[in-house]
């Protein structure tokens, strides 16, 4: 898919573990793992809102569009 999830990058910048994020965002570890590994097919606005609040970032910091020829 052309959309890349940079959740792991943001988590590393904020020095936050997956367990900690899972507790703060109120998402299961398995769901966060699906999102982190790029297996997710869709993301709810509420989830995005919660992640952005906890990681203090913009949706664009987590999601990135990569067109053909890049990466």
């Amino acid at each position: 898919m052309a959309i890349i999830v940079n959740l792991d990058v943001m988590m590393a910048r904020r020095k936050m573990s997956l367990n900690e994020l899972s507790e703060k965002v109120d998402l299961t570890l398995s769901n966060l793992s699906i999102l982190k590994t790029g297996k997710a097919k869709a993301i709810r606005f509420s989830t995005l809102d919660a992640i952005c609040k906890v990681l203090d970032c913009q949706p664009g910091d987590i999601l990135e569009f990569v067109g053909k020829g890049k990466h």
Partner: protein, 184 residues
């Protein structure tokens, strides 16, 4: 409310179990039928009188034997193939009902089996109706014999179409279920 839901679930489970048993019985029934027709074909070369008495063999087909052995063998082969396809359909239905889980009914396996049933039904229609009509045309041309038309009519084509459409709806259901599971 909850007890009503439990009751409905139990009812569905019961219907599924009964359907599974019926599908298995259907599969066994048509397997026996197919076997008896095969046995009759082989036996007709050894002891024609005994072969006539075997179960579910059309006596009209035996009349062909007196005119032409090859036409008789073709007729028997068509009958056997139709019975085998019907047995196979019931086995696939049994397999489908065995794989069906009430918690997650939309699975790729079930969809594939539905599609297979549709193709097998189409096969029954092609062999039992189209091939039989072609066979009757050549039979009347070569021997002048008139046999009754096949018992297999266009309903099989209709059923194949309906089940194929259901399988495609199922496929879409699987995609939606998958999307739902992978939405965080």
């Amino acid at each position: 409310m909850r007890s009503k839901q439990i009751m409905m679930k139990t009812k569905t489970e019961t219907i599924l179990i009964v359907s599974k048993i019926l599908a298995l019985l259907g599969a066994i029934w048509y397997s026996i039928l197919c076997g008896s027709q095969m046995l009759s074909l082989v036996a007709s070369f050894i002891n024609p009188d005994w072969a006539k008495r075997t179960y579910e063999v059309d006596l009209n087909i035996f009349r062909i034997r007196e005119h032409s052995i090859s036409f008789y063998v073709y007729a028997m082969c068509l009958t056997i193939v139709v019975s085998a396809l019907k047995a196979l359909i019931w086995f696939v239905v049994f397999g489908l009902l065995s794989k069906l889980k009430l918690q997650t009914p939309f699975s790729m396996e079930v969809e594939k089996k539905l599609e297979r049933i549709a193709y097998l039904l189409l096969g029954v229609w092609i062999v039992g109706s189209i091939f039989w009509k072609i066979y009757l045309y050549y039979l009347s041309g070569a021997t002048g014999m008139q046999l009754p038309a096949s018992k297999i009519e266009d309903e099989y084509l209709f059923m194949a179409g309906i089940i194929f459409i259901i399988s495609q709806v199922f496929k879409r259901g699987i995609e939606i279920q998958e999307e739902n599971q992978l939405t965080v």
